[in-house]
C-alpha cells in the first residue's frame, strides 16, 4: 500500500490562496445570511462583492502555474496527477479523510467558470429577486453553492470530493423550492432525490476504492497501479452511474428538464453552467483517474449511451414547445458530446470534453439568462406565444440568435470545439463501433442545428404576438450580467487554447496508463 505523507506543495501564499477560494464565499454566505431583513439590498450587494472577490481569487490561481515544473514531470514521473499547488492536512484520519485541495489544468477552467457565473448571478439578484423568498437568502445560497462546486473541483481527496459533491444538494433544492415556478416543489424534490441517489452510489464507489487501496488521496490513486481489475470495474461502474445522474446522461436525465423549467433564472444558470459539470469533471478526475481499467472496460457502453443522449436530446428538443425546457433538453444533448469525448479515452477526447464543459457552461448560462429575461417580460415560455420577438425587442432577439448559434456549434464560437473534437476523437479511435458512434454523433450535431434554428424561427421571426409587445429594452444590469458570457463565447471560440492550455500533459497522463 502506498500511504501519502501529508505534505503540501507551493509556498504559503499558494496555500492561503487555495484556502481563501473556499473560505471567502463561505464567510460571505454566513455574513449575508446574518444581516437583518431591512438591509436586504445591501446584503445582496455584499454577496456580489464576496462573489467578485472569489472570482478574482480563482483567476489568481493561474499564477500558481508559473512556479510549476510539474508539467514536465508528466509521463516521466510516477504520478499521473501533479497539481500546480496543493494544501494537504489531515482532517478525519479515522475515515481516511485528508483535507487535500489543489488545482491543475483540468480543474482550473471550471474553477474560474464557477467564480464567474456565481458573481454574475449574485449581481443579477441585486437587480432582480425572483418571487418566493428573501433576496439575501437567495444570494447566501448562491454563495454556499459556490463553495460546494469549487470544493468539488479543487478536492484531491476522494471523501472530501464526495462531501463537497453533497454540499450543493440542499442549497440547490432550496433555490428551486423557494424561488421557482408554480410546480417547484415537485421539481425540487425530484432533483434532490435523483441526485442524492447518484451521490450515494458515489459514496459506495469511494469506499470500494479506499478499502482496496488503503488511501483516498487522488494524487496517489490517479493511475491506480495497485487496484485489481475487479475493484476497478466495480468502482468505475458505481462512479459512472453516480456521475451520469449528475451530468446527466440518458436515461438518467429526467430530473433535469423539470428542475430547469421550475428553477429561477439564477438557479438555472448555476445548475446548467457549473453544477452539471461536477458530473463530467468527476468522471474524468475520479472515474478515469482512479479506475482506468474500469473505464476502458465500460467505455463502449458509455459511448453508446452518450450518443443515444445526443440523438434523444435533439429529437426531444425538436418537439419542445417551452423555451426553458428546450434549453434544458439541449443540455442533455451537449453533455452527451462531453460524455462521448470522455468515453473515447483519448487525449483529444478528454480535451474535447474539457472545452465542451466550459463552452456549455458559458453558452447555456447565457441562454438561460436570456430565457429568463424573455419569460419575465412575456410571462410565458410557450414558443407559440413568443413569435416575432425581432419586431419588438431586436436586441434581445439578436442575443438569443447569437447564443443559439453559439450553442449549435458554429465554428469560431465556443460550442464548436467540444462537439467537433468529440466526433473527431471517436473517429480517430477507429473500429466499427467508434466510427458508427462518430457518424451518429455528427448527425446529432446536425439535429442540434435544426432545433436551434427552429427555436429562432418560432421565437424571433414571424408576426409579433401579444405576449411580446411592449417589451422593455435590455437594462444595464442585464447587459452587465450577460456581456462577460457573450465575450467569452467569442473568445473561447477564437482562442480555445485559453481553456486547453497545458491540458495535453494531464490528459496524456490520464490516458497513458490505459492498457
Amino acid at each position: 500500500m502506498n500511504y501519502v505523507e501529508y505534505s503540501s506543495t507551493g509556498g504559503w501564499a499558494a496555500q492561503a490562496l487555495l484556502i481563501s477560494v473556499l473560505a471567502v464565499p463561505a464567510l460571505g454566505a454566513l455574513v449575508v445570511a446574518l444581516l437583518p431583513a431591512r438591509m436586504d439590498r445591501g446584503a445582496r450587494l455584499l454577496a456580489t462583492a464576496f462573489a467578485a472577490v472569489t472570482l478574482v481569487l480563482t483567476v489568481l490561481l493561474a499564477a500558481l502555474q508559473a512556479s510549476d515544473f510539474g508539467y514536465f514531470d508528466y509521463g516521466t514521473g510516477p504520478l499521473a496527477l501533479v497539481p500546480w499547488a496543493d494544501v494537504n492536512v489531515p482532517w478525519v484520519p479515522a475515515l481516511d479523510v485528508g483535507f487535500h485541495l489543489g488545482v491543475d489544468a483540468i480543474s482550473y477552467p471550471l474553477v474560474v467558470l464557477t467564480g464567474l457565473l456565481t458573481a454574475l448571478c449574485c449581481a443579477y439578484t441585486v437587480w432582480k429577486v425572483p418571487e418566493g423568498g428573501r433576496g439575501r437568502t437567495l444570494a447566501a445560497l448562491l454563495l454556499v453553492l459556490e463553495v460546494g462546486i469549487l470544493g468539488t473541483f479543487l478536492a484531491l481527496d476522494l471523501v472530501l470530493f464526495f462531501i463537497f459533491f453533497e454540499v450543493v444538494l440542499l442549497p440547490m433544492y432550496a433555490v428551486i423550492a423557494g424561488w421557482g415556478g408554480p410546480d417547484r416543489r415537485r421539481a425540487a424534490r425530484k432533483f434532490v432525490l435523483y441526485t442524492l441517489f447518484g451521490s450515494v452510489l458515489l459514496l459506495l464507489g469511494v469506499f470500494t476504492v479506499i478499502v482496496a487501496a488503503g488511501t483516498g488521496d487522488l494524487v496517489t490513486l490517479t493511475g491506480a497501479s495497485d487496484l485489481s481489475r475487479t475493484v476497478q470495474c466495480s468502482a468505475f461502474a458505481l462512479f459512472a452511474v453516480a456521475f451520469a445522474v449528475k451530468a446527466p446522461l440518458w436515461p438518467l436525465h429526467t430530473w433535469l428538464p423539470d428542475a430547469h423549467t421550475e428553477a429561477p433564472t439564477v438557479g438555472s444558470v448555476i445548475l446548467a453552467g457549473v453544477l452539471l459539470k461536477m458530473g463530467t469533471y468527476g468522471l474524468i478526475r475520479v472515474g478515469v483517474g482512479v479506475a482506468p481499467e474500469g473505464a476502458a472496460w465500460a467505455a463502449p457502453a458509455l459511448g453508446i449511451l452518450a450518443v443515444v443522449a445526443i440523438i434523444v436530446g435533439s429529437l426531444v428538443c425538436l418537439r419542445q414547445t417551452e423555451l426553458k425546457r428546450l434549453i434544458a433538453y439541449s443540455s442533455v444533448g451537449h453533455m452527451g458530446f462531453v460524455m462521448l469525448g470522455i468515453a473515447t479515452l483519448t487525449v483529444t477526447g478528454l480535451q474535447a470534453a474539457l472545452i465542451g464543459n466550459v463552452a456549455h457552461g458559458i453558452i447555456t448560462g447565457l441562454l438561460f439568462f436570456l430565457a429568463g429575461a424573455i419569460k419575465d417580460r412575456a410571462h410565458s415560455g410557450e414558443l407559440s406565444e413568443l413569435g416575432g420577438l425581432r419586431e419588438t425587442a431586436p436586441r434581445l432577439a439578436g442575443l438569443l440568435g447569437f447564443a443559439a448559434i453559439a450553442s449549435l456549434g458554429l465554428p469560431g464560437l465556443a460550442g464548436f470545439w467540444g462537439e467537433a473534437f468529440a466526433v473527431v476523437a471517436a473517429a480517430q479511435r477507429g473500429g466499427p463501433l467508434w466510427m458508427t458512434l462518430a457518424v451518429v454523433a455528427a448527425v446529432g450535431g446536425a439535429l442540434t442545428a435544426a432545433y436551434f434554428l427552429r427555436l429562432l424561427r418560432r421565437v424571433t421571426h414571424g408576426p409579433a404576438t401579444p405576449a411580446v409587445t411592449g417589451f422593455a429594452e435590455i437594462s444595464r444590469p442585464e447587459w452587465l450580467a450577460w456581456s462577460p458570457l457573450i465575450l467569452l463565447a467569442l473568445v473561447v471560440g477564437l482562442v480555445p487554447a485559453l481553456v486547453l492550455a497545458a491540458t495535453a500533459g494531464p490528459g496524456a497522463a490520464l490516458t497513458g496508463v490505459l492498457p
Partner: protein
C-alpha cells in the same frame, strides 16, 4: 468471600444515583429546586465519568473478569446519558414550572433512569447489563404517562395508554433477554461479556438460541422492526421531552447492549436481517406520516436500522455503530428540542401543517431543525450526520458487507424525501392554494404567531446545536474518544 470494591470506579454511578436521592429529598424537604439539582447532579455525573476515564479502574472483579469495566466507550456513553438527562430536564423545565407534571417525581424518575444508563455503559456482565437496562427503562413507563391536568382541561388518556403499551412490550422483551442470558449461561457457563462465546458441541444450538433471544430482547429497546410497533404510539402519547429521552437515551442503552452481544456472539445474519427490515420499514412508513412526533418516531426506527447494520459484521463494526449512535443522539436531541421550543410547554407535537412558515418566524430554531434533519438524512449542512453515514458505509464495505452498505445508501435516498418535506414546510408560505391551512384549528393559529421560547429550552437547543456543528467539523474527536 468478601469482594473488595473500588469506590473510585463507581464514582459515576454514585453521582447519578446520588442525584436521584438528592432530588427526592429536596422535593420532600423544600419542595423546589428539583430541576437545578437534577442538572447539577447530571454535571457531577459527567465530571465523575471524565475523572474515571482519565484514570480507568475496574471493580466487582472475580478471579478473571470484572463486572464493572471502565473502557473509553463506556465513559463516552456515561457522559452522553448524563448530558441527555440534563438536556431533557432543561426541555421539561417550562412544563414543570407550570405544574403540568409534578417536578419532584419527574426529576427523580429521570435521574434514576440516568443511573440505569450509567450502569449499562460500564456493565461487564450480562446480569449487570440487563439490570442496568431495566433501571434505565423502568422510570420511563411512569414518565410517559406522568401528566397533571388543569381543572377545566380535557383529560386525555393518550399518555396512560402509551405508558401501558410501552410497559407491556418492554416487559416481554426483558423476559426474552433474560431467557436468552439464562440459555447462554446454561450452555457455555459464561456471564461476563468478555467471555461470551457461541458454545461448543451439543450445547452449540442452545447457545445460538440464547444469543438470538438476547438480540431480539435488546432489539425491542432500540425499536427494531418487527419489534418496533410500540415506539410511534408511545412517542406520540408521551410529553415531547420524554419522547426525546426515549428516542435518544433509551435507544442508546439498547445499542450498547446489542453491541456487547453482537461483537462476541455469531449473530451476523440475524442482525443483518433486523437492520434491513428496520431501516426499510421505518423509512417507508415515515414517508406517509402527517404528525411531527410520529414522523420523528418512524425516522428514529429507521435510524436504529443504520446503527444495527455495522453490528452485522460483529466486533469490527462496533466502533462504527457506537460512533453513529453518538452523532445520531445529538441530531435527534436537536430535532426534538426544536419541536419542544416551537410548541411550548405541555403541548403535543401536532400536525406537520402546523409548522408551516415557522422557520420564517423563528429563523434560528428553523435553522437548527434544518441542520438536525439534514444531519439525520446524512447531508450537509448536517456534517455530523454525513460523517455518521460515511462511517457506517465505510465500515460495512471494509468488513465485506457491501450489499448491506448498498441497502443503507438506498435507504438514505428514501429518507431524504420526508426530511426534505418537513424542512421545506418550515419555510413554505402559509396557505398555499393547493394545501389550505385549516383556519379553525386553534393549534395552527398559535404556531403562526411568535411563540415565546423559554430560556432553558433555548439554551439546551443552542448548546446541542453548537455541539453538533462543532462535531460536524471535528468528527475525529468522537472517534478518538471512543477508542
Amino acid at each position: 468471600m468478601i469482594q473488595s470494591v473500588n469506590h473510585f470506579a463507581l464514582l459515576p454511578l454514585y453521582a447519578a444515583a446520588g442525584t436521584a436521592l438528592l432530588v427526592l429529598v429536596l422535593e420532600l424537604a423544600v419542595g423546589r429546586w428539583a430541576v437545578p439539582a437534577g442538572i447539577a447532579g447530571g454535571l457531577a455525573t459527567i465530571g465523575a465519568a471524565v475523572t474515571l476515564a482519565l484514570d480507568p479502574a475496574d471493580t466487582f472483579c472475580g478471579p478473571a473478569r470484572c463486572s464493572w469495566v471502565a473502557t473509553p466507550p463506556a465513559a463516552v456513553m456515561a457522559v452522553l446519558f448524563a448530558a441527555l438527562t440534563i438536556g431533557v430536564l432543561a426541555l421539561s423545565a417550562p412544563a414543570l414550572r407550570l405544574g403540568i407534571a409534578p417536578a419532584g417525581e419527574f426529576c427523580f424518575l429521570l435521574a434514576s433512569s440516568m443511573a440505569g444508563g450509567v450502569v449499562v455503559a460500564y456493565a461487564g456482565d450480562l446480569i449487570t447489563l440487563i439490570v442496568g437496562l431495566e433501571t434505565l427503562t423502568l422510570p420511563l413507563y411512569v414518565l410517559v404517562g406522568l401528566r397533571r391536568f388543569a381543572p377545566r382541561e380535557r383529560v386525555t388518556t393518550e399518555g396512560a395508554s402509551a405508558a401501558v403499551t410501552f410497559f407491556l412490550v418492554s416487559v416481554v422483551s426483558t423476559a426474552l433477554a433474560l431467557l436468552g442470558a439464562a440459555l447462554l449461561y446454561a450452555s457455555t457457563g459464561a456471564l461476563h461479556l468478555a467471555e461470551l462465546t457461541g458454545g461448543a458441541g451439543q450445547f452449540a444450538p442452545l447457545a445460538s438460541v440464547g444469543a438470538a433471544l438476547l438480540v431480539i430482547g435488546f432489539a425491542f429497546k432500540v425499536a427494531a422492526v418487527p419489534l418496533h410497533a410500540w415506539a410511534p404510539a408511545t412517542y406520540d402519547g408521551a410529553p415531547i421531552p420524554v419522547a426525546a429521552y426515549l428516542s435518544t437515551a433509551s435507544k442508546l442503552g439498547g445499542v450498547i447492549a446489542l453491541a456487547a452481544v453482537a461483537q462476541r456472539l455469531d449473530t451476523g445474519p440475524l442482525v443483518a436481517v433486523l437492520a434491513v427490515l428496520t431501516m426499510t420499514v421505518g423509512n417507508l412508513v415515515a414517508l406517509r406520516q402527517t404528525r411531527m412526533i410520529r414522523l420523528l418516531a418512524w425516522s428514529s426506527v429507521a435510524q436504529a436500522g443504520y446503527i444495527l447494520a455495522p453490528l452485522a459484521a460483529g466486533a469490527a463494526g462496533v466502533p462504527a455503530a457506537l460512533a453513529y449512535a453518538v452523532f445520531f443522539v445529538l441530531l435527534e436531541f436537536v430535532a426534538f428540542g426544536v419541536v419542544v421550543a416551537l410548541r411550548g410547554p405541555g403541548r403535543d407535537g401536532g400536525d406537520l401543517t402546523e409548522y408551516r412558515a415557522t422557520g420564517r418566524h423563528h429563523p434560528w430554531l428553523g435553522a437548527a431543525l434544518v441542520l438536525a434533519l439534514a444531519g439525520l438524512a446524512g447531508l450537509p449542512p448536517g456534517l455530523a450526520g454525513l460523517f455518521a453515514k460515511v462511517t457506517i458505509v465505510a465500515s460495512l464495505i471494509d468488513n465485506g458487507w457491501g450489499w448491506l452498505a448498498g441497502v443503507v445508501a438506498l435507504n438514505a435516498v428514501i429518507a431524504l424525501a420526508y426530511y426534505a418535506r418537513v424542512a421545506a414546510s418550515l419555510y413554505a408560505p402559509v396557505g398555499l392554494p393547493s394545501e389550505p391551512v385549516p383556519a379553525a384549528e386553534p393549534g395552527a393559529v398559535a404556531t403562526l404567531t411568535r411563540v415565546d421560547v423559554s430560556r432553558t429550552v433555548g439554551a439546551a437547543v443552542a448548546v446541542a446545536t453548537l455541539l453538533t456543528v462543532i462535531l460536524g467539523f471535528a468528527p475525529q474527536w468522537v472517534f478518538d474518544a471512543l477508542s
